[in-house]
């Protein structure tokens, strides 16, 4: 006897905000009438923190701090023990997305060391002979838009051999001059990062110019912390020996789930940076780093 259990959210994009109601239906499809011992639905929001391998050992003592942080949790009974008729049965549900006390609903974020995730879980208890059924469904929480207006402030940059740090032999560097600007470093997450870049001149032909989006995740507490920067994505904006003196657009869409508004709490931080990486034909790698502040409006 086959039965399928599914949770369908009303919103196609599964995005909800604090204070709204998460609505949808539980869909049960079975050929014959089905006996069960009760169906329940639970909602949970968790922050999972993870220590990077290089940090483990040094910060083993902070085991407590990597315990998941619960943001929201509630449970309702959808149906008491009984029988479900054969065919397709839809049971509507509605959960208010409301926190208890002074807790804040952080925005959904899938990272490496920090994960903020909201799930709906539907359980159907059954008799001893049949296995219990359960179904998970992730939904996405977006923060309430910020009240304050963000005024975009363009950031200009100029990259020459002289502006670089962290180099071994400055004299071995070829000459180049790259100018440009980012339209803003405090970015609206739903809008792309934009700007322009001009290779004014370069002795060695350019091989590639890339935008590297980096997440900086910090886990820790008063005793100490672990801070790790990892790449989210790398977008090439120029390939080959591009025309000198011609401006090239800088354009990057912030990927959903993998980015969230910049977050700073007592236990963890999620920040973002963008690197402009210029690869020269002789494989010289020039990187210019820009911290970003993401927000939602």
């Amino acid at each position: 006897m086959s039965v399928t259990l599914d949770i369908r959210l009303k919103r196609a994009n599964k995005v909800y905000h604090e204070g709204e109601a998460v609505t949808g239906v539980i869909v049960l499809v079975c050929k014959e009438p089905l006996q069960h011992h009760g169906i329940s639905l639970s909602m949970e929001g968790l922050v999972n923190l993870q220590l990077s391998s290089k940090s483990v050992g040094v910060f083993e003592a902070f085991y407590n701090s990597v315990k998941p942080i619960q943001l929201i949790s509630s449970n309702i009974e959808v149906a008491k023990a009984g029988k479900i008729p054969g065919g397709k049965t839809e049971i509507p549900f509605e959960f208010p997305l409301q926190t208890k006390g002074n807790k804040v609903l952080y925005e959904t974020y899938h990272g490496v060391f920090v994960n903020i995730q909201y799930t709906l879980r539907c359980d159907m208890k059954r008799s001893l002979l049949a296995k219990d059924l359960s179904r998970n469904c992730e939904f996405i929480v977006h923060c309430q838009p910020q009240k304050a207006k963000v005024a975009p402030t363009p950031v200009n940059f100029t990259i020459t051999p002289d502006t670089l740090q962290n180099i071994r032999e400055r004299s071995a560097l070829p000459k180049f001059l790259i100018r440009g600007h980012l339209d803003a470093t405090n970015c609206v997450i739903s809008q792309p990062l934009t700007g322009e870049l001009v290779v004014e001149n370069s002795d060695v032909p350019i091989k590639s110019i890339e935008l590297q989006l980096v997440r900086v995740e910090t886990c820790g507490c008063a005793e100490g912390y672990a801070r790790d920067a990892t790449e989210i994505q790398n977008i090439q904006i120029a390939e080959g020996d591009i025309c000198h003196g011609l401006s090239i657009p800088i354009y990057m869409v912030f990927p959903r789930l993998f980015t969230c508004p910049t977050l700073e709490t007592t236990n963890f931080k999620v920040e973002f940076e963008v690197n402009i990486v210029i690869v020269l034909h002789d494989d010289h790698l020039i990187t210019e780093n820009f911290p970003l502040k993401l927000c939602r409006v």
Binding site: A12, N115, E138, I235, Q236, G240, C243, Y251
Partner: protein, 876 residues
């Protein structure tokens, strides 16, 4: 995926409708495709590197939660196919390469159909990556064509898929707006855009987003409008100028298809292209060319499809000022030849034509390096061939252009360019200029027999001249026209050219001509065609050549100068002796000539004209035997005999008719008609009946006996080996009876003016009449014998009935039924024909009625007695 298949048709229809928005005057990409594929080929080995590489440069993913892991791997899959699937295909020939790409196209469709959307996307990404590879650069334009086919497929698949998602409960209208699209469809669409935005490499990200540009319609109104400029700007990041130019061409192509009204980004693309033009002569490109051993001129031509396409998009229904602006920009760039070439090819010919002088100036100012000038003049010539420059400038234009063209060294380059300019010359100038051009072409193409490699172009020159010069006296008075023809030395080409000239001549020469220039030239051309006929020539070929030559002969007329005409025919007979239809035509012409002479003389020949018509008869008489077709000979003998008779050439007429009779036994039992073997009997019967009718007016030869020709004919009929079981012989006898009856009249039914027929010669001499009676008796006896013989065989009773009935008919019409014996014979025949009931009752009834009617006339009362004795057999 079933629904995508079912909407395939709908999708196509939609596509067609949207393309209409561009209008039929826009030459679509599909027509350029084949041309590019055929033009940009290579014999070098190609490689496809589907780099589904290893996991390098990826962030290590420590065990995070299950869900995020899944999402992550999905995202990573966009860049890499599963590990180990990396493959590099080396040493592919061009065809192999095209096949591989087609395979990828198929696996894209399969992946899509089996719901493997991520795999489909991966294939598309990998394919567009191939476009950044410029090794074997000569093949790049073709590669672009092949790969963008895949992108088009993908774009259509995605669009159709999302469209289907919205088609519940009813399909979206073509003019749908964002409000009509449901959330799920929007989310799916958005997902595609997010996925594509995270593609690492620039070129795939650009191409794939361009491929699904149309899907922006599902998300918001201004999506396409905002995306196009962004993608246009994005192309600036492509370092290789060739790759960038083609990326622009693709973007323009998609833009034209989806939103033809958004002209700005088309222009933007073009200006960016101009902005990066200096790269083409840059160091990176130079190094690459050296490495691949490609010459600069060849490299530059690789750009023309892309640039021409972009310009075509811009120029489509563009206002004049825009085009003028484009031209100004080209000038600013130092009149870059490549650009200029594309401008001339893409812009409306009218636009180019008006500024032809400007263009010539610009071409002159171009630097010679790289792009050869004759190509530029070729492009200019092509525009001028369809649109006219201002009248005052035409001569200068021709002079300027020809100055350059004539200096081209390579005969192939020369003829390619000259061929284009011939059209302009023919269009606007007289034979003098065309003659000069022809002379120049001959001068260039004769050394080293260069013409041998340029037959198609030379033929096209002839074709163009023939389109504009229909007056053949002008055409042939060009001194260089015939020498030009002499360059066609390969037989097949030569004949083809002659044929095309003849076709034009027949179509456009309305008036008869005696112009010696035309006649000489045409005879020369026709002789060339005639001489090409040999034992291996197909019948059809011969027939069509003969038709063309006949067409010429019919156009020749020397007016009243009949002798000249006859001597022309003599000459033509000598020239075209291998083509029988031509000889037949010549005999007809000569016969017509004789009749024409008779008409002019009002039937009274002078000594001179009498001699002339005899000469005509002699011409026919000696020409006819050379024909192989027996029926041609027979009918021409008869016809010429009639003509001779009409011209009072009695002995000639006699000779013709005698000749016809004498070859009768040669008629084969079966002849080939339109390739099928058919019995000749019916043809022969037709001819003999015709012949008999003529014999009425032919006077007997004084030295031979009475009814000499009739007897001769009947003897031949008697001796001829007719088919077994055939009544043909008897039918001839039956049809001879009316002739004999007519001959026995006091005045004949018809006669030839100024020729005394037998009626006058014998004046109703009883001896003559009794000869006729004897002959009739013999014939009737023969017929009755035959009827008897038929009666012996059960199976031939039907034939017996038919023969009997036709004899009855003849007797009724021509016999004197007052004669009791004859009347009895008629009644017997009637009965015989009805004996076996094969007679058609309707005809019998009508015959009876007609006899009854005749019987009411005076002198015919005797018929009523006969009618009494004719009984109708009832069916029962």
């Amino acid at each position: 995926m079933s629904h995508s298949a079912s909407t395939g048709d709908l999708g196509r229809k939609r596509r067609e409708k949207e393309e209409e928005a561009v209008g039929p005057d826009f030459e679509p990409w599909s027509s350029k495709r084949g041309e590019i594929l055929a033009r940009f080929t290579t014999t070098e080995k190609l490689s496809i590197n589907l780099f589904m590489g290893s996991d390098k440069g990826k962030a290590p993913s420590p065990g995070s939660s299950a869900v995020s892991e899944k999402v992550r791997t999905r995202l990573e899959e966009l860049d890499d196919l599963e590990e180990g699937s990396q493959r590099e295909l080396l040493n592919l020939s061009q065809q192999d390469y095209a096949n591989r790409i087609e395979e990828l196209n198929q696996s894209l469709k399969e992946a899509w159909a089996s719901d493997q959307k991520v795999k489909a996307l991966k294939i598309v990404i990998q394919c567009s990556k191939l476009l950044s590879d410029t090794s074997v650069i000569q093949f790049y334009p073709s590669k672009f064509v092949l790969i963008t086919d895949i992108l088009d497929t993908f774009g259509q698949l995605v669009y159709d898929r999302i469209w289907t998602m919205c088609s519940d409960p009813r399909p979206l209208p073509d003019s749908f707006t964002v409000e009509d699209v449901n959330d799920t469809a929007k989310e799916t669409c958005l997902n595609w855009f997010f996925k594509i935005a995270s593609i690492r490499e620039l070129l795939p990200r650009l191409y794939v987003e361009a491929a699904i540009l149309k899907c922006n319609r599902f998300l918001n109104k201004s999506g396409i409008q905002e995306t196009l400029p962004r993608l246009t700007a994005m192309i600036r990041g492509i370092g290789d100028p060739l790759v960038a130019a083609y990326a622009r061409a693709y973007l323009c192509r998609v833009g034209m298809e989806v939103a033809p009204h958004l002209k700005d980004s088309l222009n933007r693309n073009f200006f960016d292209l101009l902005g990066t033009f200096r790269q083409i002569s840059g160091e990176s490109v130079r190094n690459q060319l050296v490495l691949q051993r490609v010459e600069v001129p060849e490299y530059l031509t690789l750009y023309s499809p892309a640039i021409s396409w972009i310009l075509q998009c811009i120029a489509y229904r563009a206002p004049e000022p825009l085009l003028t602006e484009m031209m100004e920009r080209c000038k600013k760039l130092g009149n870059n030849a490549l650009l200029l070439n594309s401008v001339m090819r893409a812009f409306r010919p009218e636009f180019v034509a008006i500024r032809a002088t400007d263009f010539i100036g610009m071409i002159k100012d171009c630097d010679e390096a790289g792009f050869p000038k004759h190509l530029l003049f070729g492009s200019l010539g092509r525009s001028l061939a369809c649109a006219d420059p201002p009248e005052s400038e035409r001569l200068t234009i021709l002079n300027e252009a020809w100055k350059v063209v004539t200096k081209v060294r390579s005969p192939q380059d020369y003829i390619n360019c000259a061929e284009i300019w011939v059209e302009f010359t023919c269009r606007h100038f007289t034979k003098r200029e065309v003659n000069t051009v022809l002379a120049d072409i001959i001068k260039h193409m004769t050394p080293d027999r260069a013409f041998e490699d340029a037959y198609p172009q030379l033929q096209s020159v002839i074709r163009k001249i023939l389109t504009y010069f229909h007056d053949f006296s002008i055409l042939f008075s060009m001194e260089r026209f015939l020498p030009f023809l002499d360059m066609f030395q390969k037989d097949s080409v030569r004949v083809e050219v002659c044929r095309s000239i003849m076709e034009v001549f027949i179509k456009h020469q309305v008036e008869l001509t005696r112009d010696p220039v035309i006649l000489n030239a045409m005879l020369h051309i026709c002789k060339t065609m005639h001489d090409s006929v040999n034992a291996l020539t197909l019948e059809d070929e011969k027939r069509s050549l003969a038709l063309l030559i006949i067409g010429f002969i019919r156009m020749v007329s020397f007016g009243r100068d009949f002798e000249q005409q006859l001597s022309f025919c003599v000459e033509a007979r000598a020239t075209f002796c291998n083509l029988e239809p031509v000889l037949v035509q010549l005999i007809h012409t000569v016969n017509q000539l004789a009749m024409e002479t008779r008409r002019v003389m009002g039937g009274n020949h002078s000594r001179k004209t009498a001699a002339f018509v005899r000469a005509c008869a002699a011409y026919s008489f000696i020409t006819i035997p050379s024909l192989s077709s027996i029926f041609s000979r027979l009918s021409l003998y008869l016809l010429s005999g009639q003509v001779a008779l009409a011209n009072q050439c009695l002995s000639q007429a006699d000779a013709f008719l005698k000749a016809a009779v004498s070859i009768l036994p040669e008629v084969p039992r079966s002849i080939s008609v339109e390739g099928k073997l058919r019995s000749s009997e019916s043809f022969l019967l037709d001819f003999i009946n015709n012949f008999l009718a003529t014999l009425l007016v032919v006077p007997d030869h004084p030295e031979h006996g009475v009814l000499y020709l009739v007897r001769g004919l009947l003897n031949m009929v008697q001796d001829y080996t007719w088919e077994d079981n055939s009544d043909a012989k008897v039918r001839v006898y039956i049809s001879a009876l009316p002739l004999l009856a007519a001959m026995s009249q006091e005045t004949y039914l018809y006669s030839v003016p100024k020729v005394d027929s037998n009626e006058t010669l014998y004046g109703g001499d009883p001896k003559f009449l009794s000869e006729i009676n004897k002959l009739c008796e013999t014939l009737i006896g023969q017929i009755l014998d035959h009827l008897k013989a038929l009666g012996r065989d059960e199976q031939s009773t039907r034939r017996q009935g038919a023969v009997a009935f036709s004899l009855f008919g003849v007797l009724l019409a021509h016999g004197d039924l007052r004669n009791n014996k004859l009347s009895q014979l008629a009644v017997n025949l009637w009965n015989l024909s009805h004996k076996h009931g094969y007679c058609e009752t309707r005809i019998s009834v009508r015959t009876l009625e007609s006899i009854k009617q005749q019987a009411q006339q005076p002198n015919m009362t005797h018929l009523s007695d006969t009618v009494q004795r004719l009984t109708l057999q009832s069916r029962t």
